[in-house]
Amino acid sequence: MALAEQALLERARRTYELGRLRRTVRDTWAIAPIIAVSALHHSKLPITVAVGATLFALATVLVWRGQTWGRALWPGFLAGAVPLVLPGLVPANLDCCIGGSCWSVCMLLCSASGLIAGLTIGALAAKQDVGRLQFVAASALIAGLTGSLGCVVAGLAGIVGMTAGGLVGLAPMYLRLQIRRA
């Protein structure tokens, strides 16, 4: 039976939103291999599941929302792949001593890979004509969660190190924006 104009408009809107939600699967599938890589590197399964679920929920929301938010997903995955993979490539008990203080190599790799991730996001954000801040926020969140799945091998300190490295990596983009504004 034919619907009244207003009812049709509302149903069309609902159908559109549901269609967008269905389409998120085309992007969120990537979380499965990310979790698999994380599970291969360490045995902290509860953390992997919790972070993986959060990553999935966030990615779904971003892709469903679309525009800059949705565009930020894959750059986030790309930047987060470095801290996801790199710390797992060295033995967990390997230490590195510099100037009298010793650090776990994993921990150092987490900070370094966070830095690379931050620089990557900064470089990709510079190419955005609109919604640069949204892009940085979304891709940094995705990269942070993806990277956490790798840096969890170095414990909380590893995740903190990765986050600090990431913030330092974003600094050049922030400074460039400030200089351009001034």
Binding site: L8, Y16, L18, G66
Partner: protein, 177 residues
């Protein structure tokens, strides 16, 4: 739809595909009359409104899949055309189902029915010596109004084929249609 309106629709649909909700209303307002007219030309008035609404909902369900490089109007009308075809098939099927089946006799294996079936089989065998036993069985089922334990569509196809062969054989034997 003139070229300026079409260009505007293309722009708005590309925005909608990327997730810009502000483009929803302009797309709806531009597309709905076009769809109504397009479908109204191809469907009877009793069905056209429903088909147009279904098509509109399908277009919005797939709006995010639109490639901005593609012509948005053609893409939307393509979905509408597919919907028209689907509904036409559905109507055709419904009409076929509405054709009353042959009246069922209280007992399917009654003597009378068996005699009719035997006579029919004999006549068919006599006239159509070349007809396959499976075709005769199918025609017998049609004559007695029974349905075999196969899907309706399969049986319909079998009847169609058996009748075709029957006609050919009849024509070959009696020289008339």
């Amino acid at each position: 739809m003139d070229s300026a309106a079409q260009a505007e629709l293309q722009k708005q649909m590309a925005r909608l595909a990327l997730g810009d909700r502000f483009a929803f209303l302009p797309v709806y307002e531009a597309l709905w009359p076009v769809l109504r007219e397009f479908i109204g030309r191809q469907m009877p008035p009793s069905d056209s409104e429903d088909v147009a609404q279904e098509a509109l909902l399908k277009i919005f369900a797939r709006a995010s899949e639109l490639d901005p490089e593609r012509d948005a109007l053609s893409w939307a009308l393509g979905i509408a055309t597919f919907e028209i075809r689907t509904v036409r098939k559905r109507i055709l099927r419904r009409r076929e189902e509405r054709v009353p089946a042959l009246p069922q006799v209280a007992s399917a294996d009654s003597v009378e029915q068996q005699l009719v079936a035997r006579d029919l089989e004999a006549a068919a065998r006599e006239a159509l010596g070349t007809l396959r036993p499976s075709d005769i069985e199918t025609l017998k089922l049609v004559a007695t109004g029974r349905l075999p334990p196969v899907p309706r569509a399969t049986f319909r196809k079998r009847v169609e084929r058996a009748l075709k062969r029957f006609k050919l054989a009849w024509r070959a034997k009696h020289g008339t249609g």
